[in-house]
Symmetry: C2
């Protein structure tokens, strides 16, 4: 594996990615959200090698996303269920699903988000939970949090934040070229 | 690499993941959203091997997420800018950021989403774009789209959908055990 750990990085995106490990883990989470709990169910769904599946399940358990529960003592058998932290990953999967449908389903969606009462397809939108205003610039922004290093307002090379707000002090060549 | 391609899978989550390739690609996208466009900027930010960075940039270009633009002819130099498809990936990064902050920043957030006017931290929420109602069960659901295989309503082993709605016909052991 060429991948190094992102855990030492301060960025919450990098840290989050580090805990879900790799793609298999995200697909295992997808299947856990679909109600699958047992090794055999994940294996059948994913067509993944047993050793790899065992490693990914253990990693998700160690990261606190899945919890192992014994459902049979003779023979001993465990199942894996989402923890609250795992459940919190749902919005990532929903936004990924909408993005995949929008851009990589040339033949049309195979599965889509709908209004349950009418069956009408719906588009997800990210809003501020309190005010319900769309979470976009310039109303919203990324800002240093309580654990930010003093003085380290902006990452080197960054000219704007994730929402698209320009950084006040960004006037390097990288920014000027845009 | 033990990873196989997910492109053949019908699931939009799997297809989306396939196009962003691996973690480096997501962090490159994160940096592209931060306004970085040049090879050297990505390399400095990520501490990634040049060969790996070249491969990931080309893969993101091939997937239509980044567009290469020549900014200097002598010497020839290209920069990489987000396409509309790449820009559409923003909600995935925002939800990932919020999740990372919530669960993997024990010392507090280093960077966080705020109301730009007041500086108050905000929580993202996924809603239906049209009605602004929270995108949760039972109001919303996943349903077969126009490209779904006839009769294939539910994936084998799935007892509920991504939003948590039970599948009508799910009564196998996997579901009963929950």
């Amino acid at each position: 594996m060429q991948r190094k750990t992102f855990r030492a990085m301060v960025c919450p995106i990098a840290r989050g990615l580090d805990r879900v490990g790799e793609w298999w883990s995200i697909l295992i989470l997808r299947d856990a959200f679909a109600g699958m709990t047992r090794f055999e169910a994940f294996q059948t769904s994913l067509g993944i090698a047993p050793g790899m599946l065992t490693r990914r399940l253990r990693a998700l358990e160690a990261a606190g996303l899945l919890e192992r529960r014994r459902y049979s003592t003779r023979p001993p058998r465990d199942e894996y269920v989402l923890t609250a932290r795992g459940e919190d990953f749902r919005p990532v999967l929903i936004t990924l699903l909408a993005w995949g449908n929008r851009h990589f389903a040339p033949e049309g969606a195979s599965t889509q988000l709908v209004d349950a009462a009418t069956g009408t397809p719906v588009e997800p939108l990210l809003v501020d939970r309190a005010s319900r205003r769309p979470l976009v610039a310039p109303d919203f922004a990324l800002a240093p949090g309580p654990a930010a290093r003093p003085g380290a307002r902006v990452r080197p090379g960054a000219t704007r934040d994730l929402l698209g707000n320009p950084h006040p002090a960004s006037s390097d060549a990288e920014g000027a070229g845009r």
